[in-house]
């Protein structure tokens, strides 16, 4: 997906979200340029997942404005969602479909051209070509995570939102994911990732921030 010539990958201003009168995100502002890789650290319950769900359009904010790749997430929702890839704790995968069928299904939802070749390419990229016709329920947790990453990348989104993507992956898979994300940002696409692994987050990202009290703090270039 080509990046629009104007606008940032993410423009958020005055974002607020709470549950049962408990504020989780409070007057949050965030701007992310193209090619930037932002890692967000925060304690459990600090709102990292809520922030990613809100940025992906899965949770409606109480107030504030979100623009993804120049598109208003509320008024131009379909155009904005087309530019987002999400890897969350849930893989969005169907246990009784094979790896290939799962990716084909999502490819058809996105109306992707050359779907067969794209699916084969995505499976190869995450090292699951040999298991393409195995059902998801027969895969290990780590393999399911890799398939979820392939699903998120299938439509070539401009922005990747990753919620602790390294959890459940072995060392080789983590290294492969790091290389893939580096290649991704080098091509001008952007990434927002949450993690509890400080070393890994600082090594991968170009920018780091913490989420506490509903706001982003300590927002600066990663070492």
């Amino acid at each position: 997906m080509a990046n629009p010539s104007s606008g940032n990958a993410i423009d958020v201003s005055g974002l607020e979200k709470g549950f049962d009168d408990l504020p989780v995100l409070w007057d949050l502002d965030l701007t992310l340029g193209w090619g930037e890789f932002l890692v967000i650290f925060g304690a459990n319950g600090s709102g990292k997942t809520t922030l990613l769900r809100t940025l992906s359009g899965q949770t409606r904010p109480d107030s504030g404005r979100i623009r993804i790749a120049g598109f208003d997430l509320r008024r131009q929702a379909e155009a904005a969602r087309r530019r987002i890839g999400v890897v969350s704790h849930s893989g969005f995968l169907y246990d009784d479909l094979t790896c290939r069928e799962n990716l084909s299904f999502y490819g058809r939802l996105y109306s992707l051209p050359d779907l067969k070749a794209r699916v084969a390419g995505a499976l190869e990229r995450v090292g699951l070509s040999l298991r393409a016709d195995r059902r998801v329920r027969s895969l290990s947790h780590g393999m399911q995570k890799r398939l979820a990453i392939a699903r998120a990348l299938l439509h070539q989104p401009s922005l990747l939102l990753l919620d602790e993507p390294e959890s459940g992956l072995d060392r080789d898979s983590v290294a492969a994911l790091a290389a893939l994300l580096q290649e991704w940002t080098a091509a001008g696409q952007s990434v927002v990732m949450t993690t509890h692994n400080t070393n890994l987050g600082l090594a991968w990202a170009s920018r780091a921030a913490t989420l506490a009290g509903g706001r982003l703090g300590f927002d600066r270039a990663a070492a």
Partner: protein, 231 residues
Amino acid sequence: MRTRFLRPLAALVWKDLLLELRSRDIIVSALMFGFLVAVVFNFALNVNPQRVTELAPGLLWVAFTFAGTMAMSRAFVREREQGGLEGLLQAPVSRDAIFLGKALVNLLFMLVIEAALLPIFAVLLNFSAFSLTLAAAILLTTLGFATVGTLFSAIAAQTRSREVMLPALFFPVILPVLIGAVEVSGAVIAGETDSSGWGGGATGRWLPLIAVFDALFLVICPWVFSIIVEE
């Protein structure tokens, strides 16, 4: 239109049919339940030829309704358990296409269940199931049932006591359509048909009413669905 609506809708239907073909957990359990209702009521109520007209329509629709509700309750549970609903909502697909895809699959499942149960009821209760009017009543009622059921299944799937919530929310709304279906089925089983074969008074009154309810459901339910899935 084709890209934004029909392709995703076709993909959704393909995915749900494939999943059901592999797991068979919806149709088999609903069929077993419907078969059990047919056999138990047949012996419990002693349905002799004189009482067929008054008992058969009610028994038929009790079986269809509860078997359909069982099938419907699974529609969004599988999505929610495997995170599929979030994946669907993340895709650049209109909520209407998601809703109508789900409703279409539920309609197909229910029609399969009804096509299997109707001959069993016809044999056990000794009435003729070959009637265009009865087929029209079943098709129209099932369309309304699947449309409203899909919406309430989506709502119930987000609650903890979803098995209780679905019928509690769903039956009051679908009741007028079910009453119409029982009335039309009664008229057909009693042989109250005119020369065109389209039935007498009850059919003429209730079939158009069921169609009007269907049209209302088809407009309102996708709209409500798009609101409730946002949160």
